[in-house]
Subunit: 401 residues, 2 copies
């Protein structure tokens, strides 16, 4: 098998941990696999370098930041290569450039345009372990670029896709994807498999295992991901195509986002374009609107509800003042939570939503807003009741079985 392994910042967080990673890589090699390892910077390094830059400027040039930040992954790659060599495994350490990763020129948030796989393929043919500095590439002018937060995951997925690897293993400090946050519901279970689509919903809802860009790319390239921990031998969670998941549970997981504040406009004049104007004004102030619910109007008036991150509420209030002639009343609720139910099985099962509403009603929890997609139901509720809601829903959908 050809396996691409990616180790995150905590997995290579100190020299001892890098040695531990070397042992894992060696084990996979001994099992007869060809291995490409992608590494992040040692945890803390990137933040240290950002602090350094901010000493000089609050708005450093993005091109300079890329040169600065790309250094951390080079260090990890070189050290892992040295550790593997010492254990008797021939390796080749590569920067993003040497691994053939070509990106566009959006410094600090570059997109991978193509990967010239020949250098990696040649080294794999000569049975070397290829160690690649993640998070980075070069643009067509030869400038160093970086891929943004979670960029090393992206590097790994893109390399796995380009090399047609059998699997892309993403190592971090968590065991995999859980049915819900085990700190809220200790009965949470690790999922063996989950579809790209579900993972995307869970990631956007705050599951920190993988970022959306990597999952989207994996889906596009058909890369099978296994998310697992580098600190134990537990099996992880496979993220793959829906078709490859035999047993499709109706609900795969419950997610909770506590960082929500609600804005409710009552008696908004029901004319075309009013919502567009309001949300354009919010976007201009870089306010990230999450859920939006508009009820059908009557008497030429409608109600418009939406949520924003809690620390952006004050700025949202300022924007709302600009529109004060457009509505009769505005209400702000600074502390609400979004609880979401995710599952591909929903598509073919009815009654999933009604079970959620019933469950919350039984717990005497009021639902303030509802928003649904094909594989997700999100509800805004009072923050104080949010953990009770998660546990009740987790049990209602039999996720603890």
């Amino acid at each position: 098998m050809l396996i691409v392994q990616k180790y995150g910042g905590t997995s290579v967080g100190n020299l001892e941990r890098i040695k531990n990673v070397a042992k894992r890589v060696a084990k996979a090699k001994e099992e007869g696999n060809d291995i490409v390892v992608v590494v992040s910077a040692m945890s803390g390094e990137t933040n240290k370098l950002i602090e350094y830059a901010n000493y000089f400027s609050k708005t450093p040039s993005k091109r300079d930041m890329d040169l600065l930040l790309s250094s951390g992954e080079r260090v990890s790659a070189a050290l892992l290569s040295i550790a593997l060599n010492e254990m008797g495994y021939p390796t080749i350490a590569m920067t993003g450039r040497q691994a053939g990763i070509v990106t566009d020129s959006s410094h600090t948030t570059a997109r991978i345009e193509k990967i010239n796989t020949k250098p990696m393929e040649d080294e794999l043919k000569s049975k070397k372990i290829v160690v690649v500095a993640g998070f980075q590439g070069i643009n067509k002018d030869g400038s160093v670029t970086t891929l943004g937060r979670g960029g090393s995951d992206l590097s790994a997925v893109a390399i796995a896709g380009a090399l047609k690897a059998d699997k892309c293993e993403i190592y971090s400090d968590v065991d995999g994807v859980y049915t819900t946050d085990p700190r809220i519901e200790p009965k949470a279970k690790k999922l063996d498999k989950i579809s790209y689509e579900e993972m995307l919903e869970l990631a956007s809802l705050g599951a920190k295992v993988l970022q959306n860009r990597s999952v989207e790319l994996a889906k596009k390239l058909g890369v099978i991901i296994e998310a697992k921990s580098s600190f134990n031998e537990n099996s992880g969670t496979i993220i793959t195509k829906e078709e490859d998941i035999m047993e499709k549970p109706v609900v795969s997981g419950i997610a909770l986002d506590k960082n929500q504040a609600r804005v409710s406009l009552r008696g908004v004049e029901d004319r075309p374009g009013i919502a567009a104007e309001i949300f354009k004004a919010l976007a201009k102030e870089n306010i990230n609107v999450d859920m939006i619910v508009q009820t059908i109007g009557h008497d030429g008036k409608t109600n418009l509800d939406f949520t924003v991150p809690q620390n952006e509420l004050e700025r949202a209030k300022t924007v709302m003042k600009e529109f004060k002639n457009e509505y009769e009343l505005v209400e702000y609720e600074p502390n609400v939570s979004k609880v979401s139910i995710v599952g591909v099985g929903m598509k073919s099962h009815s009654g999933v939503a009604s079970k959620a509403f019933e469950t919350l009603a039984k717990e005497n929890i009021n639902i303030e807003m509802i928003s649904t997609s094909e594989i997700k139901i999100s509800m805004i509720i009072d923050e104080d009741k949010s953990e009770i809601a998660v546990r009740a829903l987790h049990s209602a959908y039999d996720l603890d079985k």
Copy 2:
């Protein structure tokens, strides 16, 4: 003027010092010059990375070491570029590769083969300050290489040569080149100018301002160097062609090397090849023989004296045992010093050597070995008397005037 400035590890040793460097660069730019700045890694960084590597292996691969060690200069270059930008100066930060520095493939001790100057020239034309990560380049396969100790000086000199810069300013924590070590002789004076040849002798004798490889390259390329401090506004020392120095002092400086041990072989059989055999055996053990003196033999016997660094004396003794049938007597003196007088003026002046011998005789200092070159006289003396010797010679040649 086109000026290449190089700032060493202590000059960029922390964020405040980098800001200070930015101010110096800005000042030179404001004076109407085009500027290329070459920077070392922040002091301590390279040693830290070497320690990291040694945690895994005592013999890490040199290719991996180059990838590892080249990261430090990238950080400095990016930070200096950010600092200059913030002050309103457009910059372009470049790695060794981006600056067009192509080396051979001798990882960790690569030699610069050529510099593709176009990228730097283009940026200079658009009036940007070019900031280059020193110490590094790439070989023709695209692998990262480093130039060895003092490598950033080499980068700067090579860039100055390739761009035909008017001057290459090398900044460190010392003011320039002195007539002797001011810690030994407080009356030591900073030299305004010195020839490449004298600098080479002084550097090989322990003056730490510049390493020989950089001076040799400057001589070859005709690059005028100014060695100066980044911590004050004092003028430094110009290192240039002998012809460009109007007033040639007979003696430019006195150097002292206290790290010498003497080996004396008496009654060595005077046959061809014996010296070659002995020094080959020492070289095989990586013992760095410095001065060698052989006196004319009589009765088929000769005396052979040489010096080695003090910490290599024990190994030299072991080698001498292999040759015990080749000599009658061996003496070891573990603590001797080499005092040297350097000056291009010596070539056209007689009596320089005799004045040295006279001066030491007056101080009752016995000379154990003498070795001379066209512009240098070196003498081995008792270590206890070495500082007295330096002060006496400094005064005898009027260097304190």
